[in-house]
Symmetry: C2
């Protein structure tokens, strides 16, 4: 068994499948993109079933939101790090030189491809066991009222639960040249006499950052 | 076994799951939306794996496009009709009076919920067998060069394969009041001296209809 197989808790019958899952398209024709397609579908299915069982009262919309938060690139990248994928993906020389070995998209895609390879090699049950183990902590940590909600939504819900009006957002500065502007936005919560600030490459991002700062001050 | 179970080729251990899959939210609190969430995920996974095996040479992008075409509402509605779902979904009285029993969204959602119920009742293999049987003809009929491509794309590819320039689209009429306009668009293929017409509630729809008319004339 390779180190990765030990961390997965799964030994491949066909090691060529695992090898292919770890081959980026920059390396050659036998790359992992078709396996990633399968892996993405298996991952979504396993996580959907796990959330269905874990949260018997949650409506479909909440399950969808929570799943989206668990299968997005950031969360997959954490799985990739847990599995020690960083040194294992085979890349073309150009991609290697430009830092591909630690590129988030390459690592998260390869992780999905590994899940797909386990499914094709050992069937759904094998994939379920591997994925549920990889995701055990993340699923355990899900807070159904919060997971996958953006900071503006969370701040608004927190204020409304306390009977307070929604915050006011406003642009206070726009810097930089036209093609690369930086926005500064304030988030004012009159009822509490608070004001926080956020920066970002778009008004939307800056508003989220300002809301995140407010949450950090207000919510224990 | 109920008639539906016979058509599915699957007998439920827990008939309450099937009953719930056939209950629309207008009927009461014990409705099928959470089962639909699971069923959607299972369906996507089974179809992904079937296409992966059926088309060993197709790149990931083509597999995605073909799958999207197989799991969309229209294709699900055909499965619902094959399964005779129309009289089986339990609806609230208001929904029943307004024609809900034959509403495409209600029937396709309930079909996904039934797939989810089979998965939860009998496991992935049971769901795979049921779904692959329901989709056997549709998957058999997939033409990888065409399935899921819109008419404009297909027309352009057909012309380019013959070394001809792309068609020219132009609005020839806009009718109706501002909030409910109807667009007429012409699709001109100069190299062939052909011109077809399409109508629709947006320019985009009218262009697709004009391209569809051209394909109908040109492609055997």
């Amino acid at each position: 068994m390779t180190d990765l197989e030990q961390r997965l808790g799964y030994a491949f019958r066909d090691p060529a499948l695992l090898s292919r899952a770890l081959t980026h398209r920059s390396h050659g024709a036998e790359h992992n993109e078709r396996l990633e397609f399968v892996g993405d579908a298996v991952l979504n299915c396993v996580v959907a079933a796990a959330l269905f069982r874990r949260f018997p009262q949650l409506p479909e919309g909440d399950l969808s939101r929570i799943r989206a938060n668990l299968v997005n690139r950031d969360c997959l990248l954490q799985r990739a790090q847990d599995l020690g994928m960083a040194g294992l993906v085979r890349l073309g020389e150009g991609e290697l030189r430009s830092g591909g070995a630690s590129r988030p998209s390459i690592l998260s895609d390869a992780t999905e491809a590994v899940f797909g390879a386990v499914f094709l090699d050992g069937g759904f049950e094998s994939a379920r066991v591997v994925i549920e183990q990889c995701y055990a902590e993340a699923i355990q940590a899900v807070d159904p009222g919060v997971s996958g909600k953006d900071p503006k939504t969370r701040l608004q819900e927190w204020l409304q639960a306390k009977g307070m009006p929604v915050p006011e957002y406003g642009i206070t500065a726009v810097d930089g040249e036209a093609h690369k502007q930086s926005f500064t936005v304030s988030c004012r919560i009159k009822a509490l006499g608070r004001e926080t600030t956020g920066h970002g490459a778009s008004r939307r991002i800056a508003e989220q950052e300002a809301a995140r700062a407010a949450l950090a001050e207000l919510v224990p």
